[in-house]
Amino acid sequence: MSQSPSALSILWVLIERDLRTLVKSPWILISRTMFFFIQLFVFATLVNKLVNIPGFNYFEFYSVGAVVSTITSIAFIIGADLFEEEELGLLDYLLSLPFGHSLFVFGRALGGAVRALIYCAPMMILVAYLDGMLTPTAVLGSYVVLFVLATGISGLSITLAMVIRNENRFDVVIAMAELATVRVSAAIYPLYYIPKVIQPAAAVSPVTSASDLIRLLVLGTPTGAYELVELALFVAIFFGLGSVFLFRKLEGGRFE
C-alpha cells in the first residue's frame, strides 16, 4: 500500500505533468521560439533602422516585449489543456486522484505559470545579454515579474475555459484574448504611439506593467510603483476568478 503524499509534493507532481505535456508538444515550442527569434532579429532589427528617435532604441524596447508576449502566449495554453481534459474525460481521472479540488485548481494555475516561465527563461537571459544587463538582479527580478504575469494569464485562460462551453468558440475567444492582451499594451510599441482610443486600456494592461517593470530592470527605463500594483491586481483578480470558476465547475457543475 502507499503513503499519502504531502500537499507540496502533489503540487509538484501536478506542475510536473504540465511540464511533461508541454515538452511533448515540440511544435508548439518550436513555432513560438521561431516566432520569437524572427520577430527579434528580423522585425525589431529592421524597424530599429527605420525609427529615428533620439535616445530611443527600438530593438532594446522590443526585445523585452518579445519575451513578455511569448510568456503570455504560453500561459494561455493552460486553458486549452483544461478544455481538452474536460472533452476527453481526463478530468474524471484527475478528480479521482488523492488530492482536494482546491489543491488541483491551485496546481493547474501554478503549472501553467511555471512551464511558461521555464520556457521563457533562456529567452530572458538572451535579452538581458543583448540589452547589456546580464546581471543576477536583472534576470531574477525579470523572472519574478514574468512568473507573476504568467500566473495571472493562466488564471484568465482558466476562467475563459470554464465559462465557454463550445470548443470552436473557445479557440476563437482564446486567440482574440491573446491578441488583445499583447496588442493592447506597451509590450511591442511605446504607449505614446498607441492610438488614443485604446491608450487608456493599454496603460492599465498587465502586459504593459510587466514590460515596463522588466524594462526598468534591464534597460533602466523609469517607471512608477503603480505598475506593480496593477500587475498584482490583475493576478489577484484572474487567479482568483480562474480558481473560483474551476472550483465551482468541479463542485457545482459536475456535482449537480
Partner: protein, 308 residues
C-alpha cells in the same frame, strides 16, 4: 467495506442511479453487472467522489465520500472504461506519474511498473506515445495504473473490453492476485462470463436500480426448477410424454420436432435416470443436452431484458 445507503444520482433531472443500497465486503470481488446505461459507471464515480450523490451516502472503509472525499480518494484507484490519461505520454511515463501522485515510493514504483509491463508484454511498447497504440494496448495501460497503485479499494470498469482472450485471462489473474493481497475489488462489467468467473458476489443493475445482489451460484439457485434436458431421438415418440411426466421433478415435457424437451428440477442428477426411462420405452437417443440456468438467465429473470 463499502456501503451504499439509498444512493440517488441525477443529471439534469434524469436519474442515472435510483436508491441503491448494498454493501461490498472487505477483500471480496464484487461484480457490478448491467447493460450500458444501467448506472454502473455513475455509481462507481459517485463512490470515487468524482460525482456527488444527489441523495444518500456512500461510505468507504467508514469514510463518507461527501464529508471526507480526500480520505476516500486515498483508498481508491479506478481503471476507467475508456483510457483516461495523457496520450501524448508513453505508458511508462503515465504509470510513473500515476504512481507518484498516489504516493508509491520510487523503487517500489519502478519495480511494479516493470512487473506489470512485463506481464502485459508491453516492455517495448512502453516507450511509445500511447496515442499510437491499439485500443487493446491502451486498455491494458489503463488497467496497469491500478496494478501499479495496488489500492485498498480497486475499481475496474469493463476491464477486459477490447482485450483478446490471453489478455483477458491475464487481467483476471492479476485482479485475483490483487484481492489475495487484501484489496477489495469492484468490477463493473456487462460480460456475463466475466462476472460469473470473477465475482464472489454480483450486484445486478438495471435502469439505475440494484435489482438483486448475491453470489452467482446462489442467484442461479433462485431459478431452481428451470433446468432443461433436451434428448434428441431418432424419431418423435409422443407416447413417451406420459412416462417422463411420472417423474415428480419434471414440470413440463414436450416434443419439438424429434427433440424431447423436459423442464425439471435437479437436471444434473436426473439426467441418467431420464435417459434410462426413455431407452426403456424403446427410444433411441442420438444426443443429450443439459441446460442449467446461467447468470444471463438470472439477469433476464430479474430485469426482464437480455444483457447483450
Amino acid at each position: 467495506m463499502i456501503e451504499f445507503r439509498d444512493v440517488w444520482k441525477s443529471f439534469k433531472n434524469v436519474y442515472a442511479v435510483r436508491g441503491v443500497t448494498c454493501t461490498v465486503q472487505d477483500k471480496e470481488i464484487f461484480g457490478l453487472l448491467g447493460p450500458n446505461g444501467a448506472g454502473k459507471t455513475t455509481l462507481i464515480m459517485t463512490m470515487a467522489t468524482v460525482y456527488r450523490a444527489t441523495k444518500g451516502d456512500v461510505l468507504v472503509e467508514g469514510h463518507n465520500v461527501n464529508t471526507e472525499p480526500e480520505r476516500v480518494k486515498e483508498l481508491i484507484g479506478i481503471a476507467f472504461q475508456d483510457a483516461k490519461y495523457d496520450r501524448i505520454l508513453t505508458a511508462r511515463e503515465i504509470l510513473q506519474w500515476h504512481g507518484k501522485v498516489t504516493g508509491i515510493d520510487k523503487s517500489l514504483r519502478e519495480k511494479r511498473i516493470d512487473d506489470t509491463l512485463a506481464k502485459f508484454g508491453l516492455t517495448t511498447e512502453a516507450r511509445k506515445r500511447t496515442w499510437t497504440l491499439s485500443g487493446g494496448t491502451k486498455k491494458k495501460i489503463e488497467n496497469a495504473k491500478i496494478f501499479v497503485q495496488r489500492p485498498k479499494v480497486a475499481v475496474f470498469d469493463e476491464p477486459t473490453a477490447y482485450l483478446d482472450v490471453p489478455s483477458r485471462l491475464m487481467v483476471w489473474e492479476m485482479i485475483d492476485e490483487l484481492r489475495d493481497e487484501g484489496s477489495t475489488v469492484v468490477l463493473a462489467t456487462n460480460m456475463m462470463d466475466e462476472a460469473d468467473r470473477m465475482s464472489d458476489r454480483v450486484g445486478i443493475m438495471s435502469k439505475g436500480e440494484m435489482v438483486q445482489v448475491g453470489p452467482p451460484d446462489k442467484l442461479k439457485g433462485t431459478l431452481r426448477g428451470r433446468d432443461v434436458i433436451e434428448l434428441k431421438l431418432k424419431e418423435p415418440m409422443p407416447e413417451l410424454l406420459g412416462e417422463v411426466t411420472k417423474v415428480e421433478e419434471v414440470h413440463d415435457a414436450r416434443f419439438e420436432g424429434d427433440v424431447l424437451k423436459l423442464e425439471l428440477s435437479n437436471g444434473r442428477e436426473l439426467l441418467p435416470h431420464m435417459i434410462n426411462v426413455v431407452t426403456a420405452k424403446g427410444g433411441q437417443i442420438q444426443s443429450a443436452n443439459l441446460k442449467e440456468p446461467s447468470l444471463e438467465d438470472v439477469f433476464l429473470h430479474y430485469t426482464g431484458t437480455k444483457l447483450t
